[in-house]
Amino acid sequence: MKFKQVLLHGLWKDLPPFRLVLGLCPALAITSSAEKGLGMGLAATFVLIFSNTFISALRKSIPDKVRIASYIVIIATLVVLVEMSMKAFFFPLSQQLGIYIPLIVVNCIILGRAEAFASRNPVFLSMTDGLSVGIGFTISLTLVGSIREILGAGTWFGMSLFGASFEPFGFMVEAPGAFLCLGLLLGLMNAYSRKRGEMFIQS
């Protein structure tokens, strides 16, 4: 029961970045195409799963006073691994994502999950939590990226969707389009859950 709850909470109840409203920097900056959203989401998921696992395994031996520094060391190690493997195997994508891959280190979602979940739960549950939140993050980023790419460029994962006569709504792939898209999605989700009577909106 607990396991199932942990596995599913990242997909709706704590869906990042919409529900947690954390990790907004990558959600705004790199979602100009679906491919970039997916790549960023998967990289963050990898880091999230392993950082949660290691932090949970070491939770008894990390002193409370220096825990944030210790978490950052673990997360940074993983991020360097991700960055180097992306440069080795997915060079074009890593060129597109640029600085935002190293910046996963300071992604609030990863530190937030470490602090809120992994530091007080057993290893397997923490790993599940990382997987769940990571998948939620990947889906969200791919969704935002898809909407922006379809409207703003007329393509989806690089495939042309409309004919040559389609003039794309270029505003959506610019930076202000990210704010508009994210805000509208957040508003729609809030309206939907208000309709379902969920109490989550913090006043």
């Binding site: 003039e167 709504f169 505003f171 508009l180 509208l184």
Partner: protein, 325 residues
Amino acid sequence: MTNDMSRKYSVASSPHWRYAFTLSNVQRLWLLALAPAMVASIWMYGWHAARVMGLAVFFAVAFDALANRVIPSKDSTANYSSVTLAIILAFMMPYDSPWWLILVGSFIMIVVGKKLFGGTGAYPAHPAMLAFAMLLVSWPGRFDYTRSLLAIDWGTKMVEPLRLVKTLGGGAENTFLWQDLLMGHQVAGIGNALVLYLLIGGLFLMLIRRIPWQTPLAFLLGHVCMAWILNLVGPGEFASPLFYVLSGGTVFAAFFLATEYTTSPVNPIPRLLYGFLGGLLLMLIRAFSNYSDGVVFAILLINLGNPLLDRIRPKVWGVEVTGNA
């Protein structure tokens, strides 16, 4: 005593005094003020202008009604505010705008710019300007007024006056006669440069006191001051102040965009500052940016300054000022 008790008294809360200053009446007066320019536009551009305005009004009212059905609000479709906004947006559109451009513009204007913020009285930036800015950023090629008017010849040089001055320097102002600029014989959107007709409408609104006199006059003053300073500093580079006032959408911005009720300040001194700042910014954008006519961006920028300016308010008698109130 019993007689008094049995009589029905009205116990409604204030205001008790009502007169015909309703939103729909005010918006209809705005439409009346815009009417000379609308007629002149149809006279000069033919049925294309009527098509652009008609489509804009149709789409805007339709989106307004649909949005009201999904999210019911106090801002009803019957108050004409969507019609006024649609005409203002249409005035800035080029003569050959395709229907989908107007559709997207109306959607952004009504749904994103107006309804999402809560309707008339609640939005932070002028919805028509917001929509126009998004369209301009997305489809810059569609807003090439010079290209759109290749088929028309009014006997003047058929290039946007501000663009010519920007590329060739201040001397290029002599290409245009001020009478032509005043009568609206200049390349622009279908209504934003019909200076004389807009001036008539604007002065009408000002005289019946439906727009304040401070904002438009301060706007024009700010524009003239900045243009005069720039002209003194670099006479070869910049044209005369009169040219900048008469070309592009300066008069339109001063009388119809800067005075929009929701996004402009309510007190006299902030109004003066607001207008002055707008005119000054407009001149700076015209002088130093990539855009030849920056009306949209100047208006959006001063809109953002509005809440700050609204903090300058009259002193309340008998109340001690405490803190930073």
